[in-house]
């Protein structure tokens, strides 16, 4: 067991840090540090920069363009990226559909898609949830029927909570291809071109005023046979593999570390009743407690990464990822809560831009405090809610 970093690893950290400093546009960095979500352009441009450098897909095998990093290097890279305020890699591409294709798709499909997934020439979104199938994902109804004449699939149905569908070139889709047997056994996994006739995207506005998510409607959408991943009716297996990866990526430890440092920085200059907030014992307690939780989360994430590297990859989701998912959500939710507390009554103005500059009454972080707090309530809901995770733990770990 060795938690400290070797000189080689420290050198690698410096290399990453230098690269980011030299290549990340200041505008992007500032935008993100203020608590804004990156624009599509920022994400694409940064992914392309990394792709050129060979760093766009850290966890992919070398054969498909991975840099061949150790788990430690991946961790360092991710942490530096997040601390620096660089956009996250587009997770649906790099962390979800990429690994699924690498593990389960035909060589032909890999060759067609993986390079463009890595470069973000194809932006993928995820078509899993449906209005009637949230936590109970396997009860999904969107159907794909085999059209014998056209040798293609015909897709009908509705997906929802589709993050950034408005940016997407492609969607990976769970569809029902059989109604026989257990509901998990009739599901297949398709890739669908968002420009296909019959695909419609409807925006959903979230309570923070943002537009991240959408409903996507499919009406007689034709999908070529070759866009099926793996075998018919085996899609549930691929989806579980994908969700395990998703939970692992969820906590964004580096980003939380950056947020916590930002909190401290502001507290040092924010004068409350005659002294900096930083010198108020109750604030200090809250800061330290958050730091401790974050350290524990960081260690748990590293443990899981380490055991993934050490052990044979079984393809099954690790139940410890449920721990990470729950604690990761709590962490980011709690941090956004602390920003609202720090803003106090100044957090009230709604700054959707409608009223122009009039809306801006405080620093950028003040403006983002309440919307971020509202927005991150999602993190204990999506990707398997807290309740779903506790169900997994009580079944898979405790045998209850």
């Amino acid at each position: 067991m060795e938690l400290t970093f070797t000189p080689e690893e420290e050198a690698f950290r410096q290399e990453v840090r230098d690269f980011i400093a030299a290549n990340l546009p200041a505008e992007t960095r500032d935008h993100i540090k203020k608590g804004n979500p990156p624009t599509k352009e920022m994400t694409v441009s940064w992914q392309k920069t990394l792709h050129k450098k060979g760093w766009a897909t850290p966890r992919w095998p070398a054969e498909w363009g991975g840099p061949g990093w150790s788990v430690t290097q991946m961790y360092i890279f991710q942490q530096e990226n997040q601390i620096a305020g660089a956009p996250d890699p587009q997770g649906f591409n790099v962390g979800m559909i990429g690994p699924v294709l690498i593990r389960f798709a035909s060589d032909e499909m890999k060759k067609e898609f993986l390079p463009k997934i890595a470069s973000l020439d194809y932006w993928f979104c995820q078509g899993f949830s449906e209005p009637g199938a949230g936590s109970d994902l396997a009860s999904l109804k969107t159907s794909a029927k085999w059209d014998e004449d056209g040798q293609q699939w015909i897709v009908n149905g509705q997906k929802t909570w589709t993050t950034y569908a408005q940016y997407a070139d492609w969607i990976f889709l769970l569809v029902r291809t059989s109604n026989e047997g257990k509901k998990q056994e009739g599901i297949s996994f398709l890739l669908v071109d968002m420009k296909s006739p019959g695909v419609e995207v409807h925006p959903i506005q979230t309570m923070d005023g943002g537009h991240e998510i959408n409903s996507v409607f499919f009406t007689d959408v034709k999908v070529p046979a070759k866009n099926l991943i793996g075998e018919v009716n085996k899609g549930w297996t691929y989806a579980k593999f994908l969700l395990g990866n998703e939970r692992l990526g969820a906590p964004r430890v580096g980003a939380s570390q950056a947020k916590l440092e930002h909190l401290k920085e502001i507290a040092k200059t924010r004068i409350v009743r005659g002294k900096p907030l930083w010198d108020h014992p109750r604030f200090r307690d809250k800061f330290v407690e958050a730091q401790i939780e974050l350290k524990a989360l960081e260690m748990t994430v590293m443990r899981v990464l380490s055991s993934m590297q050490a052990g044979a990859d079984t393809g099954k989701p690790d139940p410890a990822t449920s721990v990470i998912k729950i604690k990761g959500a709590q962490m980011i939710q709690h941090l956004t809560e602390l920003f609202v507390e720090m803003a106090g009554e100044q957090a009230a103005p709604w700054t959707d831009g409608e009223l122009g500059d009039n809306a801006r009454i405080g620093d950028d972080w003040v403006e983002r405090a309440a919307p971020n707090y509202f927005n991150y309530r999602k993190s204990s809901i999506y990707g398997g809610s807290d309740q779903v995770q506790k169900g997994i733990i009580s079944k898979a770990i405790l045998g209850l």
Partner: protein, 368 residues
């Protein structure tokens, strides 16, 4: 000691609730929010016609001399309906600030409020005041000419009468400014909870000073106390309705072949929220009585205790409501998110948790 409402109070509760349930639902509210001032003037007039604005004013002032218990009853109903109007400014803040004024001032302003003609607000916070414990920079001359800036003034651009806290030649004072007064500019915006507010700047703005009553400090402290009591009352209604909405949702929403409300883990989360809501209801009663207490320190500490409890419970109730709604709770299309946002803003209104904890800690806690 007696926690029961009397017959008049029960009637008040019924009539306000009925009025609001006729006027308000989620779709109607959305329309009111988009109206020019962020609410429907007809509803404001309706409140006046119901007589609720007369409740907090004494008979001398033309009112009917109710207590803060009546304000609590109204506030709970307002929270339940998620009403948009600045009712608390009219019922809790204005009557408190007016105690600094002369009998004539009080009667004149009360008349306008009671009739529904006047929409009052209070311009107190300033950009440099992080919380309620900070000093005021806005200045007033001996003639009542105001200079300075106020921040997050509720309905600052829509109010017809603005009470302004400012430093005069003789110390802290309260000044009344009419809408459209010279040198006053409003930068208006919506707030996170769908209401309106504004930055107000005063550049040689004429005003009328409140004088002849209690010292301004005392009137301000009373307003802050009654503001907290109003927050407590409104939050009880918000929590009550949040739980109702959530229970209704989980009864209807099916997953895994049955309503999710039949899952025991969710039932117990909802039950935990009920426990917290009931504790806030108790503290709302406590606050509504204590905010009229003659002992200002006892009053202020009681308000702080009530506010801290409200914040802790509000987070539990609000967060569980979104969680149990799942994805739809995150969207603008469902009422629950709007209740959650309103609760969140009340958590930081009239002093946040830290401010009130500090006040209690410095005093060594509530009197035993």
């Amino acid at each position: 000691m007696n926690f029961e409402l009397n017959d008049e109070q029960r009637m008040l509760s019924d009539s306000v609730s009925r009025f609001l349930s006729d006027r308000y639902d989620f779709e109607k509210r959305r329309k009111y929010m988009e109206m020019e001032g962020g609410f429907d003037p007809k509803i404001w007039q309706g409140y006046a016609d119901l007589g609720i604005f007369a409740l907090p004013f004494s008979e001398d002032e033309g009112g009917i001399g109710g207590t803060s218990v009546e304000t609590m009853i109204v506030g709970e109903a307002m929270g339940f309906a998620l009403a948009n109007e600045p009712w608390a400014e009219a019922m809790a803040i204005a009557p408190s600030l007016l105690t600094a004024g002369s009998a004539e001032q009080r009667a004149a302003v009360a008349e306008g409020i009671i009739s529904g003609e006047t929409v009052p607000t209070w311009a107190h916070l300033e950009p440099g005041m992080i919380d309620r414990g900070e000093g005021v920079q806005c200045s007033a001359s001996a003639e009542g000419v105001l200079n300075g800036t106020k921040t997050v003034v509720a309905f600052g651009a829509e109010a017809t009468l603005i009470f302004v806290t400012a430093m005069g030649p003789e110390g802290l004072g309260l000044y009344m400014v009419k809408a459209g007064a010279k040198g006053m500019e409003a930068r208006a915006y919506k707030t996170q909870d769908g209401k309106r507010a504004a930055e107000l700047s005063f550049d040689g703005t004429p005003s009328e000073k409140l004088s002849g009553g209690v010292p301004a400090e005392d009137a301000i402290a009373l307003a802050e106390a009654r503001g907290v009591a109003a927050v407590l009352a409104e939050s009880v209604g918000l929590m009550e309705k949040s739980i109702d909405l959530t229970v209704e949702y989980i009864k209807g929403r099916e997953q895994f072949g049955r309503p999710i409300g039949s899952f025991q883990a969710l039932q117990h989360i909802a039950a935990g929220a009920v426990v917290e809501k009931e504790q806030v209801r108790s503290m709302a009663m406590y606050a509504s009585v204590m905010c009229d207490d003659a002992d200002a320190q006892a009053r202020d500490l009681a308000m702080s205790a009530a506010k801290v409890k409200m914040v802790d419970a509000s987070r539990i109730v609000g967060q569980m409501s979104i969680q149990l709604h799942g994805g739809v709770g995150m969207t603008m299309e469902y009422a629950i998110g709007h209740y959650f946002k309103r609760l969140t803003l009340l958590e930081i209104a009239y002093g946040d948790r830290d401010f009130h904890m500090d006040r209690l800690c410095e005093a060594g806690g509530l009197a035993a």
